[in-house]
């Protein structure tokens, strides 16, 4: 039997890569703007789905396919569904809107601009390596899933175990809180 190990690793994006990057970036940025500017909570959740899918696309483009799949399974398939459930369970009027005052928006924009300026400052003043040698594009290799698994169980074992315990605690805690509120009824 002939196993075509090297044939299965195919560069999915070639000449269209920059085009794809800008398309995905446009999707992400526009939907992120939508999240910030929209007043309808359900629309916000749908825009967040678009953002998450776009970020997963970025991971695909960065050859981190496994991370993209994890992003879709855990984030889009789990976390966002939780949020949507929360939206549905807490809105009496489906198209509920909670408006904010003008001065609050003004302060928000101001703080956002300040943080953006800080990040830009940091980015400009960091000495990033340049050239083809530093971009990691030479071989076009993919992150191997086995390497991620090995790293999780060797170098990052303690955070991995802590995250596992944290998830267990969160599960018990969330179930406990939801149960208590169910007993109280609609108090």
């Amino acid at each position: 039997m002939l196993l075509l190990a090297d044939q299965t690793v195919v560069e999915p994006f070639g000449a269209v890569k920059p085009l794809l990057f800008y398309a995905l970036a446009a999707v992400i940025v526009l939907s992120a703007w939508g999240i910030v500017l929209s007043q309808n909570i359900v629309r916000m959740a749908v825009y967040l789905l678009l953002t998450l899918a776009g970020v997963a696309g970025f991971y695909f483009m960065l050859h981190a396919e496994f991370l993209a799949a994890v992003q879709l399974i855990v984030y889009a398939g789990g976390t966002l569904i939780l949020i949507v459930f929360g939206v549905m369970l807490t809105s009496k009027n489906p198209f509920m809107q909670l408006k904010t005052a003008l001065w609050e928006r003004f302060v928000g924009v101001l703080i956002g601009l300040v943080i953006f300026g800080l990040l830009l400052f940091g980015l400009v003043h960091t000495a990033l390596p340049t050239g083809a040698a530093a971009t990691g594009e030479s071989g076009g290799g993919h992150y191997q899933v086995a390497a991620i698994g090995r790293a999780l169980l060797s170098d990052y074992l303690v955070p991995f175990e802590v995250a596992a315990v944290l998830l267990l605690v969160v599960m018990i805690g969330a179930a406990f809180m939801a149960r208590r509120s169910a007993k109280q009824g609609n108090g």
Partner: protein, 418 residues
């Protein structure tokens, strides 16, 4: 890179057209299966002239699929007032797109061998005149190296169409239907992912879709080694597609429909199409994991070849999918619908513990796979052991709260005995 691109584009074009066209005939097949199950004849009159032309001839009702489509097109596309219009239109689209995306990694035809260099015809824009050197490519739209996980990931986003559709309709029944369907799909995703995990584990860490076919080549199909797991996976596929007996999302007789109550015409048809595409995706996934993909044991095939071999593999793959689709329809018209609490209990108290048990035992066997006593049939033994264990200790497990308990038939006026 370039030959793969060319083959990918051709694969996408062929597969999309073949399957979307066959979807309409799947509806025809569904009606026929329903008729056979209920001892009827089913649609057998409609021909392709629809009575408009002086055109005689028996077509066995094959025009029915076209007639159904035309009927859906000409229905009024009604949008109720006070819906969220953008989301209302978006929902059917969100249902169809993930289902279509999953096909990207399914290896429809194995490999294609460019055995000699050729030049792309000069009249083609962009690529004209490029010389392609001999190479081997996958007959897949996107041969990424985590194919199976990709199908799971895309499948997990299929919930949103249901949620958004139920929510945007601004209707309590749609909303509740959407919640029901969401809870169901989320619950059945867990045992499904566990099943995939077991298969990945026992396939020596294969993740690409074609690697699974290599693992099962020449009749060493996983269904023989993991029969219970295959059944669990099949149940999860049914639940993910909202098919009977898990079709509470669209229980129009008892629950006033579901998330698509407010939809009509082509928007409703898109929901319906999405269900059928999900069925094909699920059947393809099942074929890939448990039925050996394009593998046909009576042909000790070479793995790589020209167009004929690709077509043969495609036909084998499609036939396996078709058989599974027939089983799905058979189940739908045979079994009654679950109640919602039964459905949830099946997922959380039966499928998930069993899948976890098999995962644990299979993991132990994989750990010991170099031992002298190891044989792949031990996996089968584990599966049968899980069935026996469930049957033995199941009745002794604590029961749920005493509501919706089945009343014993004996002595009642519904008893078949009296």
């Amino acid at each position: 890179m370039l030959p793969q691109f060319i083959v990918s584009v051709i694969t996408i074009l062929v597969v999309i057209h073949v399957i979307l066209l066959s979807c309409s005939y799947l509806i025809f097949l569904e009606r026929k299966v329903a008729a056979w199950t209920q001892d009827r004849i089913g649609p057998n009159r409609t021909n392709f002239s629809f009575g408009l032309l002086p055109f005689k001839g028996k077509h066995f009702g094959l025009g029915q699929a076209l007639a159904d489509g035309i009927k859906l097109f000409f229905k009024e596309d009604y949008t109720p007032p006070q819906v969220d219009r953008v989301l209302f239109i978006l929902a059917p689209i969100i249902v169809v797109i993930p289902a279509l995306l999953s096909w990207a990694v399914i290896p429809w035809g194995g490999y294609y061998l460019f055995d000699q260099a050729f030049t792309v015809p000069a009249w083609l824009p962009l690529l004209g005149g490029v010389v392609v050197s001999p190479t081997i490519v996958n007959v897949t739209a996107a041969p990424i190296n985590i194919g199976v996980v990709y199908i799971l990931a895309i499948g997990s986003t299929a919930v949103y169409g249901v949620v958004v559709g139920g929510y945007a309709s601004n209707n309590k029944y749609s909303f509740l239907g959407g919640l029901r369907a969401t809870a169901q799909m989320l619950s059945y995703e867990i045992p499904m992912a566990l099943c995939v995990l077991v298969v990945i584990l026992t396939s020596h860490g294969a993740l690409g879709a074609d690697q699974f076919v290599h693992q099962q080549a020449n009749g060493v199909w996983n269904i023989f080694y993991q029969p219970l797991l295959a059944i669990i996976f099949f149940a999860c596929v049914l639940a993910e597609c909202n098919r009977a007996p898990f079709d509470l999302a669209e229980a129009e007789q008892e629950l006033v429909g579901g998330y698509h109550t407010e939809y009509s015409s082509m928007k409703w048809a898109l929901f319906f199409l999405g269900e059928y595409i999900h069925m094909i995706t699920g059947a393809g996934f099942f074929t890939l994991l448990f039925l050996g993909g394009w593998d046909l044991p009576i042909i000790q095939e070479p793995l790589i070849g020209g167009l004929g071999l690709v077509l043969l593999k495609f036909i084998v793959f499609a036939s396996k999918i078709l058989v599974l689709l027939f089983v799905m329809m058979w189940i739908r018209w045979t079994l009654p619908r679950f109640r919602f609490d039964q459905l949830m209990r099946l997922a959380w108290r039966a499928l998930i513990p069993l899948a976890l048990l098999i995962l644990l035992a299979s993991g132990f066997l994989v750990f010991k796979q170099h031992a002298k006593w190891f044989s792949p049939w031990l996996y089968t033994a584990v599966n049968i052991g899980a069935i026996v264990l469930a049957a033995v200790i199941g009745p002794f497990l604590p029961q749920g709260p005493p509501m919706n308990r089945k009343v014993g038939l004996a002595g009642s006026r519904f008893s078949p005995v009296v």
